[in-house]
């Protein structure tokens, strides 16, 4: 079970900020979320949205372990 976190406008789109999702890969997790909520799937694939696994930015696909923290980060606006 990965722990999924949504930030900024992504949590407004989804209607939630944090969830447990059971997916072995990041690609599978994206597919799972898109299948449930197409608008969220589109937002997660949007321009400038980055993904951090256990607080480290990753590009492309990656395996998810039990307890991996998966954060979807829209463009950072600064303070």
């Amino acid at each position: 079970m990965a722990r999924v976190l949504l930030f900024g406008r992504l949590s407004d789109v989804a209607g939630w900020r944090e969830r447990q999702v059971d997916s072995p890969f990041l690609s599978a997790l994206r597919a799972e979320l898109s299948g449930e909520d197409a608008a969220l799937g589109e937002a997660l694939a949007g321009k400038g949205v980055q993904v951090a696994l256990d607080q480290v930015i990753v590009r492309g696909d990656a395996a998810l372990n039990a307890g991996t923290e998966v954060a979807f980060l829209p463009p950072m606006s600064g303070g």
Partner: protein
């Protein structure tokens, strides 16, 4: 060095008192305080979201770079998160160095980073509803001043 986030209102003066105390070899302390503007009623509240842990770590990396680049003795950064009312401090940056040029430039550099690239997501609550804010072109342009060639 200190990089912290806080949900509570803070007094930038209390931070400067603490930061400037007992520095007999420092010479120069520059600070910047960013305050939420009311924009004559257009903004009634600002809401800032951070990714706790990640946000401080990312800011800390840039603060380390500033220390090395400008030869700082010390840096302190405090950033508000959550709902912020007009007139309340949003961010406080203090830099200490032997000479004033380094202290000013490092403070300016850190603010350019914090305003445009730091891991925050900002929502402005106005009379017409809320909207997520993205960095302005001016913020990006400010940051290009610091590119090392």
């Amino acid at each position: 060095m200190s990089v912290r986030l806080t949900f509570d209102p803070f007094d930038p003066g209390a931070l400067l008192s603490e930061f400037s105390r007992g520095r007999s070899e420092t010479g120069a302390v520059a600070t910047f305080t960013g305050i939420a503007r009311a924009e004559a009623g257009a903004t009634v509240a600002l809401e800032l979201e951070a990714y706790p842990g990640f946000t401080e770590a990312e800011i800390g990396k840039v603060a380390d770079r500033a220390r090395a680049r400008f030869g700082l003795d010390d840096v302190a950064i405090l950033h508000r998160v959550g709902k912020i009312a007009p007139g309340e401090a949003v961010v406080f940056v203090a830099t200490a160095a032997r000479h004033r040029r380094a202290a000013f430039e490092a403070c300016d550099f850190l603010m350019d980073y914090l305003k445009s690239k730091a891991p925050f997501w900002k929502k402005e609550q106005g009379p017409g509803g809320a909207r997520w804010v993205e960095p302005t072109d001016q913020d990006h342009a400010d940051l290009t001043r610091w590119e090392e060639t």
